[in-house]
Subunit: 342 residues, 2 copies
């Protein structure tokens, strides 16, 4: 059934996956639409963002963020519309970015909600280029990666919500940018549309050699969000004083075992090459005063000038969110994955 | 035989060790004392510094520094005296710190040589507290570790040339300092003489539990120079936003295999706890304009005020350098290890 005025559809965590998530780990339910009390407003979702970090929330392993309880709604950011309000600052029709989860309706008292900036090119961009993924790319690359003109920057998941922005900003900083992506079409897009200097299809069996050929002067910045065999190919090519901002390990999220033999050489590599490897989560950067506003302003200027391109992969219907999310972890999306709910 | 005016004793690399070095990897030779040509001066060593990094130079594995060739003199820093000079800037009797290696005599044209500061408390201190080890402690702790008041700093090899200085500077910055050392006597010294808050004997079989007890608020800075089981005990205790300056892996230098199972969790730990792990070698910091002078000035003030204590372990005679060096890698020294040659 489509979105309705009287029923709240929601997708809950039915059970915890041990490896890759499967349909049985999710369950679609219907409940009543809640009614806002004093100081509250009711949000109806237009767009739901799907992101790799959600796999971590399905697990109860210790992490930086609370996990989703069994039978609770899957967490997630949405662009939603205020449809009823008893809150003085929010009026019917306001567009809001909020963490209302995988469902049609949610109440809010304003906590964690942000009204969409009037300069947002499209509402759904608040979930990607101008939201957490774009900010992740910006902060991780510039604050930790610190790319300098003429350096070589390698980015995995090169056409994804984060990687595509990392690569384009690095190009703007005068770097040689080498992407890694799954399939010839994505690689073509990275080079021809995003302006990367090269892009390597990791599905080929000669990733290490291809990467070596594409990085004749080694690698100065590796933006790490996938782990696995891509990191294996990158590690031997890292230059002295390389920086490795680390914001995700997608390949490990679904149970791909890390390569222990390779990782046993990691401290020795960090030492002899004086490499800085630093994990970060974007929530920390939201706490840094003025930093998101700085990002928003700079990104707006780049987009207005046609210097940053952005692609969305829009899936229709809340009921298709689980399948789309499973595909995301396998790299099946092409561009920032969002679910159009309304 | 002792140091002589007519014979140059030198210790060369006889063969490359695969694990711990042994006597057969070194050879004591005698050669003629060289004669300085125009623009050169002749140095005679008073003190030779022995440091863990030298184990790396005995190997021909790729590294940041050139290895010692077979039959070549072992590299090392010395405090030496000018005994003949055809160089306008160096006069007979000048005390110089230079990398003249494990031998009595060497020629220099001034490259890499530094006249000893007049304020040096003792000449041999130029090889330790006021030299590479002290500067390593200072730069690694302050530039990478960035300890803040009230944080917990853990340092291995706590009574060594680097560790003892790291811990004392961290105390000056208002941190809780927990050392790790080999044996009750060193631990007593770390607490009673150096002022550490606690020190754990890693020879006990319950290092992980003892460390946990000594760090009730977790670990914010771990100054890594040993690797091995100490790092295994530290890793689970690292706090969110911990910093790990990494300047050595002594336990691995002599063939202790890294724990692959543990290290396979390293990227995940760096990510979820947003840890910064950064390798460094002190030679890079010598290139930073004014930084060594800043260190020298600040350290001089601390020593003059009695705020930093320093202990040397002085071995007599060049011929005993190999045995002393083997002991160093096993933690048998107590304080900065130097060989008095003259």
């Amino acid at each position: 059934m489509p979105q309705s005025a009287t029923v709240n559809r929601r997708i809950v965590l039915a059970s915890r996956p041990t490896g890759a998530p499967a349909p049985e780990h999710f369950r679609l339910e219907e409940t009543a639409v809640p009614v806002p009390g004093p100081g509250q407003f009711l949000l109806r979702a237009d767009y739901l963002s799907l992101d790799p970090y959600m796999r971590g929330r399905m697990s109860d392993a210790p992490s930086y963020a609370a996990h989703v309880e069994i039978d609770a709604v899957m967490t997630g950011g949405t662009v939603s519309r205020v449809v009823a309000s008893q809150h003085p600052d929010y009026r019917e029709g306001d567009l809001v970015m909020a963490y209302t989860g995988w469902q049609d309706y949610a109440l809010s008292d304003g906590t964690g909600a942000t009204k969409l900036d009037k300069n947002m090119p499209r509402p759904s961009y608040a979930l990607g280029l101008f939201g957490m993924p774009g900010f992740t790319a910006y902060a991780g690359l510039l604050d930790i990666g610190q790319p300098k003109e003429g350096e070589t920057v390698v980015v995995a998941a090169a056409t994804g919500a984060v990687g595509s922005v990392v690569g384009q900003i690095a190009r703007l900083k005068g770097c040689r940018v080498v992407g890694i992506a799954g399939g010839a079409e994505k690689c073509r897009y990275a080079v021809e549309e995003l302006g990367f200097d090269a892009c390597i299809d990791h599905r080929g069996d000669d990733l290490p050699q291809q990467l070596r050929d594409a990085c004749p002067k080694g690698i100065d910045v590796y933006f790490e969000n996938v782990g696995g065999k891509v990191f294996e190919a990158v590690l031997p090519l890292l230059n002295v004083h390389a920086r490795v901002p680390l914001c995700g390990l997608i390949a490990q999220y679904s149970g791909v075992a890390p390569n222990a033999a390779l990782l046993s050489t990691l401290p020795r590599n960090l030492l002899t090459k004086r490499i800085r490897m630093q994990g970060f989560i974007i929530f920390d950067y939201y706490q840094r005063a003025g930093y998101f506003a700085e990002f928003f302003k700079e990104m707006s200027a780049w987009v207005a000038a046609g210097k940053i391109k952005y692609r969305e992969d829009v899936v229709q219907g809340l009921e298709n969110a689980p399948q789309a999310f499973m595909g995301l972890l396998e790299g099946k999306n092409f561009g920032k994955l969002v679910v159009q709910i309304a």
